[in-house]
Assembly symmetry: C3
């Protein structure tokens, strides 16, 4: 049984959508390394990427509306598109809040979190063409789960340092409002890691159904 062109269109669209996640993760890495004055420019590029993501999602939905046959259950394709969209929303929100809150310094763990997201983005983008043979993607979803676990550990230790401070007298030396703002940005990064895992979960679900 051969796939028709219409079927393979979904793989192309999902691959394109996941490509935006690689761009987004790269922009996050840039955002946290450039001087504060340049961050609004990076956040704007992120926002443009997020709009491309919205367009990609809409195109997948349109394709679903006009396709008689789909390679997987319609709901699963929709859940994949929505999951990829969620990751990009989280990245965009993190960049936007970092600028709006005028965050000056990012805590150490943030760079590690962003590296984990970049790895997850690369894995996800590579997995999409592999949807043609979904059972072979076990290594992908297992590594995404592992990355999410690592991100969660980094996140919790980062919060502990942020909240507990490092003053010599053991009392927190940080301004509470700065702590709150920083936490808001970091929360979005952790949420992006979760959203990557949701995408992987949907793919595992598809594999279970096909098995």
């Amino acid at each position: 049984m051969r796939l028709t062109p219409r079927d393979t269109r979904f793989f192309d669209l999902l691959t394109g959508a996941a490509g935006n996640l690689v761009t987004g993760a790269g922009l996050l890495a840039e955002l946290i390394s450039v001087p504060q004055a340049e961050r609004p420019r990076v956040a704007q590029l992120m926002h443009d990427t997020e709009h491309l993501g919205d367009d990609a999602t809409q195109e997948i939905m349109m394709q679903l509306n006009t396709s008689f046959i789909t390679p997987f259950d319609r709901q699963d394709i929709q859940a994949l598109a929505a999951g990829i969209d969620d990751v990009l929303d989280d990245m965009d929100e993190a960049a936007d809040l970092a600028v709006l809150y005028r965050i000056e310094d990012f805590p150490d763990g943030v760079a590690t979190l962003v590296e984990l997201l970049a790895r997850a983005a690369a894995l996800t983008a590579e997995a999409m063409p592999g949807l043609r043979k979904v059972a072979d993607l076990r290594a992908y979803w297992e590594e995404i789960n592992e990355l999410e676990d690592q991100a969660d550990g980094v996140y919790r230790r980062l919060l502990a340092v942020l909240f507990n401070g490092e003053g010599e007298d053991g009392r927190n030396v940080r301004d509470p409002l700065t702590v709150m703002k920083t936490k808001e940005v970091v929360d979005r990064l952790e949420s992006a890691a979760d959203s990557f895992e949701h995408v992987a979960d949907v793919i595992q679900t598809i594999a279970v159904k096909e098995s």
Copy 2:
């Protein structure tokens, strides 16, 4: 093929449930405009509305249990009822926390958020009878997505002002605990906007399946 009375019962029940959202949005508008001393009374009315919502959800579940044929997949009807319930829970929680935390002043953006919720409630209530011809509801789900996008922008700018303060020396003049409490209330309003979008997403899913 004609719809039986039993089928149309679901549209009536969902229309009734969505009507509570219009009431809830109206009570939110009242809550933020009356003096603080009157807010417990408004929050109590909201709580009564939330109970009506619970009853409506239960009635839909009972109807599902006793119906042999349903106009859509059972899970989608259940998801619609749950989504409407989530919106009302968010509204009730916002009102309850505003009273419990004794919030004195609401930041400017809150009135705009509440207006966007009122618009979303009206649209959702109008959409329910239209479920009979779900493909015609495209304008509804597109506008709800647009409203959620606007609410998200208002929410982020509101947080930036709340966290960054407006003191002449550029330092935040606000009490951190007051900032935290206010953010808790505003978060529930933003969550209500998200929940409205979830309802619209379910309806879009139904339309995709029927297409």
Copy 3:
């Protein structure tokens, strides 16, 4: 029609997974009652339990992959396993953060929240073998919904006391960062109550489908 051994395997696996929730709730009760110095040991036991939970979830997924026939829709079994996993994740995160943040005193309502979670864990563990006759589980999901409602009320009052403080002059006497950290832990307990409700919702969904 008799169930084959392969079918009943799912009930056994889910019963085993839910048993970890009873262990987890017991460890939470221990965590909040022992002196601070002993908490890392209890949090480590919780972490071990969470790993057992991960193994249980993986075993259910493997069983799904190798089973030709399943007693319910595959997605519902997967959702049950994921829901049980979420509860344990919340419990583990609460214990971990309590230690990482070096929380000294837990507010009064925390003990009540933990008791409600223990009750929900016992009910959930008892319900799993009953999945063989899912329509009879109505009392279970109704009580879980009632418990979640109670937990929500306790949670909100607890936050009000935490945020509003109890100083004689009516101003909050608490350190804002301590308030934030305590809220983070309490949020995870409230989230565990929500996750219990999600498990009950899936079971109600299964019952609706079978009715």
